[in-house]
Amino acid sequence: MAKKDLVGGSLWDNYSQQVADRMNNPRNLGEITKKEADDLNAKLVVADWGAESCGDAVRLYWAVEKGTDKIVKATFKSFGCGTAIASSDMMAELCLGKTVDEAVQITNLDVEKALRDDPDIPAVPPQKMHCSVMAYDVIKQAVSIHKGIDRSSLEEEEMVCECARVTLGTIQEVIRMNDLKTVEEITAYTKAGAFCKSCIKPGGHEAKKFYLVDILRDTREAMVREKAGAEALKPSFSGMSLFQKGKAIEAFLDAEVRPLLLNDGGNMEITDLREDGENVIVSIAYQGACMSCASATTGTFSFIENALKEKVSESIVVTM
């Protein structure tokens, strides 16, 4: 919550003037008849998407010129709210003059951007983004009818956020690469979930196949498992060569011990390393302030040995 959220803005105040104009006077409304299409030497394509019971339904008419595959006329009819009607109208307009293969590239974001008055201000409020998604879906439907192919062959990947067109693969990759821990971070990185918010968690505007909360949890769990798996693959200390043991001990000293000694102006080095049966004998020598420190042979010494025994291997014995 914040100041801007305390008094709910009017839904309609957040529609662009273009949305309002096209709701009041759609430019590309109506049907295309078979005869009209024939007169244009074109094939008539009629595609339906949505249903009244879902709250949105749109029908797209294309006259597709024979030979060139160019859309020479595009109109629509729509059952839906003002933004659905305006989005459908703009969608039909964007199809006009394009080939079918070009038209299939039109996304809901293209439709929404085209409806903006100011390029930086969204044409519709977040909860209305799904209206432009309808426009995108009906184009896919028209293409599949025109080409006589299955609609699913046009869907490249699993789409999680229809509004921002972010796929499952993208979201998983972003979580992994950036070590994301919250849904807010996913939204900030990808815009997924920034608009109608349905994909964030169950219970939003629409039921979805994937939700960001689940993807985040599953991906993070997978990351933990993989990390644990990688750890398990590391050879145990006793299985290492003496050279590897030395490197492991040096790495631990660098990370956990030397910073503390350096704080007090001292340091330490390994002067020798040898194996004696099961044991690994580490000979150390102090440097700097440690050389004259009273506890160097008592407290500090036992701290170093205990830490190495506990964190690296029980088999380590430290000598001076």
Partner: protein, 387 residues
Amino acid sequence: MKQVYLDNNATTIVDPLVKQAMDPFFCQMFGNPNSLHRFGTETHPEMALALDRLYAGIGAGDDDDILINGCATEGNNTVLKSVFWDIISRTEKKRIITTQIEHPAVLHTCQFLEEKGAEVVYLPVNDEGIVTPEILRAELDPEKTALVSIMWANNETGLINPLKELAEMTKAAGALFHSDAVQAIGKIPVNVQDVPVDFLTFSAHKFHGPKGIGGLYIRSGVELVPLLHGGEQMGGLRAGTINVAFMVAMGLAMEIAVDALEYEDREVRRLRDKLEDALLALPDVDIIGKRELRTPNTILASFKGIEGEAFLWDLNTKGVAASTGSACSSEDLQADATFQAMNVDADLAHTGVRFSLSRFTTEDEIDYTIGVIKETVTRLRTISSTY
């Protein structure tokens, strides 16, 4: 352009007489009624008069309480949470019985209490959209039930529940009964002598009073745990400095509304029926709920092939204000809960438009609205892909 307000179930115009009555309490009699000095005490007679009017308006007895509060949402929260603290959290009676068609002020509060350990039963409605005694009986276990909360009339449909039977059945089972009467007061008679409610909640702005003031009726002898703790106002049952101006306004608004009930039943009903007949004369229009079962001011209509928000948009461009329970106009795209509970066709859930009149609605306005609706239906059905 002509402006016609037909959204009176959302809020109403403040009656100019009511506005006039509260005016002196801003710059002249602005004192805190709890103060000992004259500025405080001079507010008392008008406050007492307001209480008289409120008590008379709903038939409350002198031993009963009507707490003046912020709104019906506050009243509903107070009742439900009081029962939770007083009974549900301390005894074996864990059940609240309410309905699927309640206002969010009741529904969301019940959902919250469910998380805290209450057992909540959400009653369905019958085919006519009514909560019948038979539906209640099925869940009314005397061993388990702490409270029954059922709205007097529904905000979307105007359908009136048989409150007397529901309340009597609840009392016989030894449970408390609450009714959210927000949509009933000023539209139909509401009398706590006839209907044995323990709690009743209402809000002034639904009957031509100002927003931000409401009332909570509590029958004599019924325990209440306050929602707001603080000063001694309202006998400690609702702390917070009393909004004297709005309390005075609510009192007068109640008196006028109750006096106007006869007009409401005759004239508002006549205009409502005129509008409804005109809608039904159009093809493929459904009205939800039988006329005689509804408050006299409300119509919930469904126009085949036209989405509710688009309908409102067109009405608004021509100066007519109505409302929709249609999912598209809200944050939540799920179909309206009332529609779902009524098992109406899923198609209808997106095509509903509510017209709600008041005693300020004129015949001229209704005639104008009928013309606008005809134009709207024609235009939007031309656009529609499903008509």
